[in-house]
Symmetry: C2
Subunit: 115 residues, 2 copies
DNA sequence: TGAACTGGTATACTCTGTGATACTGGTAAC
DNA sequence: GTTACCAGTATCACAGAGTATACCAGTTCA
């Protein structure tokens, strides 16, 4: 078994890529992050901002993302309770990824419209 | 029902984001694109370059990606046949996304190593 | 008084992406 | 002559991602 020194960077990079996919994988995490980073704080507000998401999926993802320190859930004990979600610094590190993906999506629609 | 003019950009952006996720969603498409763009051409070569992928998944994804014009499959009718995969121009438009994700992954490992 | 909002939970279901294992026919090297 | 490479295909099976629908307690609006 040979160790290919030339390929060590490629190996590190593909590992990095797979790490990232692992963390933000699935249909909803990036849209939710994007929504919260765009200033949406309330549960129904986030829900309405993401076409196709169900209450259940949003609820589940928010819980998981809170556990993973991607967001903070703030509760004001008024009646009824006021719940607000906020992004963390860590969450905002995904901005370059999200921006790249939004740009790809916009260019792609443009292309389809043209062609 | 009110139409919120302020949110039209946000709506377009989240749609673009969801489009992109739709196209490159799943665990394997981006790693495969990355591998091929890095110069891997042969089936087993690509397979070896992506930790964890199975022959079956690679085979399926390559087929789908060929149908979607993301890659080209070139067959040289030697015996046994020589098969080579190449990226298309369209495929390469994902570079910014892949780069952003690799950078996130590298920074993330760095952070974990430190903390 | 009833409708609509809030922030979710409960239950039941689908389904497909993914994994594990084995196999094929041909070639080449030890 | 057996092992290993190539480029895959075939079969089976499963977890869990995602969907659909209904529901709750409390509040505000008309």
């Amino acid at each position: 078994m040979k160790i290919d020194l030339q390929n060590r960077d490629a190996a590190r990079e593909i590992q990095a890529l797979q790490d990232t996919i692992y963390v933000i994988g699935g249909k909803w995490k990036l849209p939710i992050i994007n929504s919260i980073c765009n200033g949406n704080k309330r549960f129904r507000e986030i829900e309405r901002s993401i076409p196709g998401i169900t209450t259940r999926m949003l609820s589940r993802e928010l819980k998981e993302m809170e556990m993973n320190k991607l967001i903070i859930r703030k509760v004001t004990p008024t009646s009824p309770v006021l719940v607000e979600y906020e992004s963390t610094e860590y969450c905002r590190t995904f901005s370059p990824v999200i921006i790249a993906m939004i740009e790809w999506g916009l260019a792609h629609r443009e292309k389809i419209r043209e062609g």
